[in-house]
């Protein structure tokens, strides 16, 4: 299992160009596959916020770097507390996808203490009332906490979904992410609705 270091990540980005051809082929295959999936499952032209949130959760992994010594096992895990539709969407979306060469798994949680060392935690809106206790349970683990509440960020989340013009957007607390040793890419921040910094 290759150890993912910050440096290795950088190199990987640089080598990206060389792998263009391969990537293009893969992209074509993926595109065809996606097109197939799309036409088979989802309703054409319908904006599904759960699907979008699931995709966003997946995409966050691309722009976040976790402390290297915490990476164990070969799968990146996205833990979801509640929010069954999102879990469903992830379950449909994730197979065949990876982030930085790692498989991505969705881990549905019944309770927060099942979190383990998952890299991402999504707290469904049904847990908004006990959001503080959930987040407190996460503690200072290097885990990206994502909430779906009106004031999620103020209540201690690192990333919080918001709905703007019927479309899913998100806001980021850079300070809180960096407190636990996560490095957030500026490219992610550039698409964020709001960024809370120290």
């Amino acid at each position: 299992v290759p150890k993912r270091t910050r440096r290795a990540w950088g190199e990987d980005m640089r080598h990206y160009g060389r792998q263009r051809l391969f990537a293009a082929i893969v992209a074509w295959v993926a595109l065809l596959a996606l097109a197939g999936v799309h036409s088979a499952g989802a309703q054409e032209g319908v904006y599904d916020t759960n699907r979008v949130k699931a995709e966003f959760l997946y995409h966050f992994g691309t722009y976040i770097q976790w402390p290297a010594d915490l990476i164990e096992g070969d799968a990146m895990r996205i833990a979801v507390l509640g929010a069954q539709p999102v879990v469903d969407q992830l379950a449909r979306f994730l197979p065949g996808r990876s982030i930085q060469g790692r498989r991505v798994e969705v881990v549905p949680l019944e309770r927060i203490d099942e979190l383990g060392d998952a890299e991402v935690l999504f707290v469904g809106s049904e847990h908004n009332a006990s959001l503080e206790s959930v987040l407190a349970a996460v503690g200072r683990r290097p885990c990206l906490t994502v909430t779906d509440a009106e004031d999620g960020l103020e209540r201690g989340a690192m990333v919080n979904f918001q709905l703007l013009d019927e479309r899913v957007r998100f806001e980021v607390s850079l300070r809180r992410a960096e407190d636990v040793g996560l490095i957030v890419s500026s490219r992610l921040l550039s698409t964020a609705l709001r960024v809370e910094t120290s």
């Binding site: 293009a24 893969v26 992209a27 074509w28 993926a30 595109l31 996606l34 992610l188 550039s190 698409t191």
Partner: protein, 623 residues
């Protein structure tokens, strides 16, 4: 025009430089163009693909998080890139996600496969946005592919540069060619002048240190060499011409001398023959029976005058001969001029009288001394007087005047005679020349004036002739340096005095007249003289006389004077006789021979009484 340029070296150099420059520039321009086109193409393609890559990269989060505003913002960044005409981000399903267009109404093509196409100055790039091996969408970029514009601009620039370069090259090459051809042209000019004017002193100017400089030096050296040779040739030509001219002149002079000699011989024969007729007549008168005293006297007068004339002629001839051979001996003593002039007048008197001419004499009152051989100097004046008398008509005046002037004594002899033609004046003193128009009877041998001139010159003096022309009379001027009066009482002319001692003298000469006349003279001054006409008689006479002094003619018949001398020495009566040789030959060889034969002295004919007297006084005293 073109052929003229080709003919000149300068034109050729310019053409070569221009051609070289043009070729080099064209080649470099082509290479530059090719390079530029390639590079620019690469640049455009690289730029477009790089832009597309960057766009794809930065668009990825926008696509991932469905943020078309962010994508649009990114696309707007391209507005600063003038080359980008339009750009777009597509979703994976081909839906346009975000667009950017520089101009209104831009059309965006349907989503196409990844790649790059160039069509009509437009470059389009499609590029997928891939993240985590997932295609999130595609970016589309349309850029202007301005290669042709660029090419055109480059061609224009290169053309301009080439034109400017050619102009500069032309100017530089003209200047350079001038530098190279300037010295060459100068050499050419010099060569042309040298050939045209044959002036080998011309030189080309050396202005450079290169091969042309060496060429100029070599050319100059060659010119110098040629010039020297031409000069040498000319000099030798000139020398040859001069030599030829000299020879021609010498030949002419020889011919003239020969002609004069012929004329002289004719004159000589004539002159010697002339006195003979009156002498023959005179002898006839003497022999005529019953010739009276008056007739005898006249006959003797004729004989004396004609003889004197002949003696003078022959004397002159002998003197001329001596002068010509450089044998004339002058014994100079300080001498009183008046005495010399008087002697000369005495000598010339018979001729003057004969011509019935009056002589006026003007002499300085004070005695004037000159360093002179009195006999020879008198000869000069008598010759001049003779000359004047001879070339004047009867009854005319002749004037002799002497005066002292600036340390010189000047003696002028002036007549009213026929004068001298101007063309004759310069040659009047040459030997054997005469005034051409003079009748033969009046003329001499033509040696008198020549002799006078030589004699004056031997006395360190000058002689001049002057005449206003034919019939105007003539003036001869002799100038001699004056010397102080001598202290000793040296008598320049020994007067004919009685001998202090009576000597017994033997005279031997086959010329009976000479022997007789000389013996009469010697007897007249008190000596005892016997004569003999041949050797045998001489020996007999010597035995009887026991002579103290013997004068022997060397040119005796049968036995020569030399043999006679030995024979006289052989007999006791004349063993101690002082012998004096008398000869017509007076050269050193002759003197040496007579000395060997036992002669004490060698006298040269004509022997004068004075020299015999001198010989007697010195010889007999020493014995």
């Amino acid at each position: 025009m073109l052929s003229r340029i080709r003919r000149s070296l300068r034109g050729k150099i310019v053409i070569v430089v221009l051609l070289t420059t043009f070729t080099a520039l064209t080649l470099s321009a082509l290479v530059l163009l090719w390079f530029e086109v390639t590079k620019h193409h690469e640049f455009l393609v690289d730029d477009a693909t790089t832009q597309a890559s960057i766009l794809a990269d930065i668009s990825a989060p926008a696509l991932a998080f469905d943020d078309d505003e962010a994508a649009h913002t990114y696309l707007e960044l391209l507005s600063s890139r003038a080359g980008i005409r339009s750009a777009a981000v597509y979703r994976p399903d081909g839906e346009l996600f975000a667009t950017f267009a520089r101009e209104e109404g831009a059309q965006f093509p349907p989503l196409d496969a990844a790649g790059m196409t160039i069509d009509g100055g437009i470059l389009t790039v499609f590029r997928p946005v891939v993240q985590n091996e997932q295609v999130l969408g595609s970016v589309y970029l349309q850029a202007s592919y301005d290669l042709q514009d660029r090419l055109l601009a480059y061609v224009l620039i290169l053309g301009g540069v080439m034109l400017a370069s050619l102009v500069v090259a032309a100017v530089i090459s003209l200047w350079l060619a001038g530098n190279v051809t300037g010295p060459l042209r100068e050499v050419t000019e010099v060569a042309r002048h040298v050939i045209g004017e044959r002036d080998f002193t011309l030189r080309a100017r050396r202005t450079t240190e290169d091969e042309i400089g060496v060429f100029v030096d070599a050319f100059n050296a060659m010119l110098a060499e040629v010039g020297q040779r031409a000069q040498a040739l000319e000099a030798s030509n000139r020398a040859l011409q001069e030599e030829t001219e000299e020879r021609r002149l010498a030949e002419a002079a020889l011919r003239l001398a020969d002609q004069r000699k012929d004329e002289f011989l004719a004159t000589l024969a004539h002159e010697l023959r002339n006195p003979l007729a009156p002498m023959v007549n005179a002898v006839g008168l003497l022999d005529a029976p019953g010739a009276g005293t008056a007739i005898v006297r006249r006959a003797r007068g004729i004989l004396r005058r004609q003889l004197a004339q002949m003696v003078r002629l022959v004397d002159d001839l002998l003197d001329v001969s001596r002068i010509t051979r450089g044998k004339l001996i002058i014994r100079k003593h300080p001498t009183e001029l008046t005495q010399i002039v008087r002697n000369a007048i005495d000598t010339a008197r018979p001729v003057l009288d004969e011509c019935q001419q009056t002589l006026t004499v003007e002499l300085p009152d004070e005695p004037v001394y000159v360093e002179a051989d009195s006999v020879r100097l008198a000869q000069v004046f008598s010759n001049l007087l003779n000359n004047s008398a001879r070339y004047s008509e009867r009854g005319k005046q002749i004037k002799l005047a002497a005066r002292v002037l600036d340390g010189q004594v000047e003696v002028r002899i002036e007549d009213q005679g026929v004068g001298i033609a101007p063309e004759t004046l310069p040659i009047i003193f040459e030997m054997f020349s005469q005034g051409g128009s003079i009748e033969r009877t009046q003329s001499g041998l033509g040696v008198g004036l020549g002799l006078a001139k030589r004699l004056v010159e031997l006395h360190s003096g000058t002689i001049e002739a002057h005449s206003e022309g034919i019939g105007q009379g003539s003036v001869f001027t002799v100038r001699l340096p004056v010397v102080p009066m001598p202290q000793a009482t040296c008598t320049p002319v020994r007067p004919l005095t009685m001998a202090t001692r009576r000597h017994r003298i033997l005279l031997v000469d086959d010329n009976v007249d000479f022997a007789t006349s000389l013996s009469l003279l010697l007897e007249a001054i008190g000596h005892q003289v016997r004569t003999a006409h041949d050797a045998a008689e001489a020996l007999v006479v010597a035995r009887e006389l026991k002579p103290e002094v013997g004068f022997l003619d060397l040119g005796l018949p049968e036995v020569s004077g030399y043999d006679l001398a030995r024979q006289l020495r052989a007999q006791p009566e004349s063993a101690h006789t002082v012998l004096v040789a008398v000869s017509g030959w007076g050269q050193a060889r002759d003197r040496e021979r007579s000395r060997e034969a036992g002669f004490s002295l060698h006298l040269v004919k004509p022997v004068e009484l004075q020299s015999i007297q001198a010989a007697l006084s010195t010889l007999v005293q020493s014995h």
